[in-house]
Amino acid sequence: MSSETLWYANRATGAVCLVLFTIVVLLGIAVRSRTRLPGLPRFGTMSLHRTLSLSATAFLALHISTAVVDGYVDITVVDVLVPFVGDYRPLWLGLGTVALDLVLAVLVTSLLRERLGHRTWRTVHRLAYASWPVALVHGIGIGTDTGADWMTWLTVACVAAAVAAFAARLAHAARAARRTPAALLRTAEGARP
């Protein structure tokens, strides 16, 4: 396989990862706020979130292995796991490494979820919220296609969707915090038959 093929494959899988991981984050928020997706029962949101996150991880593995195999840039296996130590654009590559490490933590704890306590799993799972923006910045900083129209619009769309979903999630949490028995009782007593 020529270096050029690997280079194209690396760029393509990177873009696919951006889209897939954005969808995974949106689905995760949907699971948490018990949103029902059109045409799916509520548990469908959950299984879609799980399935797509594994697909996204497969694309991420492809994305990383093409970068390592590609001889044109010098990215070693150590660079994949340890951030900011490589020779090739250490900052931008390092951000990708950080995002990968966070994803691995989320992945491993999710696979071992039955054996971990729910609280441990949930704490680690929240790292996904940190991983997504770090990966995004990595893509913008290191990506060959940054600045191309299609990539700009793709990035803008993903960021807009994620920000909107996160805002909805915060609003949901704030609403839930206000739902106490006393508050609900006041509402119920105000209602007339």
């Binding site: 739902r179 106490t180 028995p181 006393a182 609900l184 007593e189 209602a191």
Partner: protein, 405 residues
């Protein structure tokens, strides 16, 4: 506060009428020294006695002891024993009365239960009177296991077994998932025996005097006696020890009563005519609250006040309880005021079905039991309210409901 009716035909066991709080010397003089028996024999005695839990569920005590001891052997962890004196039920006085007058009987029982299950830690959880209990504990130098007194926050649910175990472990006093049960994983994740203080006091007496003695009171099916908090209008609530099978009318004057609340705020309303035929039964007695509602009071208004309190006491953790109980309380308030009722009766029936059995604890179930029994017992009153008038003449509140806050 305490008294026994002269015609109960039962010598008092747990509470000596008119007595002052007993210190250790008085206690030993009254009941003799604590039993020193092998745990195996103790367990067999408890099984033969037929003693059941007095916290409200009426579960056979020896079965709980056996399962906690087994869980301890299986997990290799020494179990924890918690004496439950929470008494979150606002209408109940029996646990605090018992702890005030006979603390050493409860503490004897706690040591026995701890020995039977092989416990490594023991706690006594109460809302008030902790200082008095600590001074009682200080007198007991011969106890093999030290007991720590835990001060509980004032709430209806703090005495629920899982909530209690969570609080003693350092968490919030709120119910948790039912699985794994507290008897397998409770305080500090060890198998935990949570036992009502009255049960422990009975345990201490069964160990001293034997199963046959215990069975001399009560009926063959439900042996023994129970402490009841009896509410008669115009009088202080009284704590009475009564054998199972005793006609209810002997405990509570039923003439001039419209209905009786049995089993407390998670219990049921029974029309006075039916109550007159009833014998004291663990099936409905709950934690032993009996309250008479005179004919000049409105049962719907009383129930509405209690339901409002129960809704506010929801832990707010499970959706059906958090959303359902306030709506049920709001709807019942409409029912309690004479005037148009709209769809309230249908709403109450629907919401009751929706919340029942869907909580981590039984708070919604108990609340719904009260709602349904009130709608049945006070059906005529509901109709009168719909026509715009109330048959009650005295509108002062009757049942004790704590202030909000």
């Amino acid at each position: 506060m305490t008294a026994t009716f002269p015609d109960l035909h039962m010598p008092p066991r747990l509470l000596v009428p008119g007595a002052t709080p007993a210190d250790l010397a008085t206690h030993h003089q009254r009941y003799g020294p604590p039993a020193q028996v092998d745990p195996e024999i103790l367990l067999r005695t408890f099984a033969e006695s037929g003693l059941t839990g007095r916290g409200g569920a009426g579960f056979p005590t020896y079965r709980k002891l056996v399962s906690v001891a087994e869980a301890g052997r299986r997990t290799g962890r020494a179990p924890v024993v918690v004496a439950n004196g929470a008494e979150g039920e606002p209408a109940s006085r029996k646990d605090r009365t018992l702890l005030r007058l006979s603390p050493h009987l409860v503490l004897d029982g706690l040591q026995l239960a701890a020995r039977t299950v092989g416990a490594g830690e023991a706690y006594l959880a109460v809302e008030d009177g902790a200082t008095w209990l600590e001074s009682a504990l200080a007198q007991r130098t011969a106890d093999p296991l030290p007991v720590k007194v835990v001060r509980l926050p004032r709430s209806f649910l703090s005495g629920q077994a899982a909530a209690l175990a969570r609080y003693v472990s350092g968490g919030a006093a709120l119910p948790t998932h039912q699985r794994p049960p507290v008897r397998e994983r409770g305080v500090h994740r060890a198998p935990t025996l949570v036992q009502n203080v009255e049960t422990l006091a009975h345990l201490a007496l069964v160990a001293r005097y034997g199963a046959d003695w215990y069975r001399t009171a009560g009926t063959p099916a439900q042996p023994g006696s129970a402490l009841c908090t009896v509410h008669v209008p115009g009088r202080e609530p009284r704590v009475v020890e009564a054998p199972y099978g005793l006609p209810l009318g002997r405990l509570l004057p039923l003439e001039g009563a419209r209905a009786v609340l049995v089993g407390g705020y998670h219990g049921s309303w029974i029309p006075a005519s039916e109550a007159a035929e009833l014998a004291l039964d663990a099936g409905y007695l709950g934690a032993g609250v009996l309250a008479a509602l005179p004919v000049d009071r409105c049962g719907l208004a009383e129930t509405a006040r209690v339901l409002r309190y129960l809704a506010l006491q929801s832990a707010g953790q499970c959706g059906p309880c958090l959303n359902g109980l306030p709506r049920i309380a709001g709807a019942f308030r409409t029912l309690a005021a004479p005037g148009p009722q709209g769809t309230v009766r249908a709403d109450l029936a629907r919401w009751s079905g929706l919340v029942e059995g869907r909580g981590a604890c039984h708070h919604p179930d108990g609340t719904v039991r009260l709602v349904r029994s009130a709608l049945t017992t006070f059906a005529a009153e509901v109709d009168a309210h719909a026509r715009g008038h109330c048959t009650a003449t005295d509108h002062r509140p009757l049942l004790p409901v704590p202030e909000e806050g």
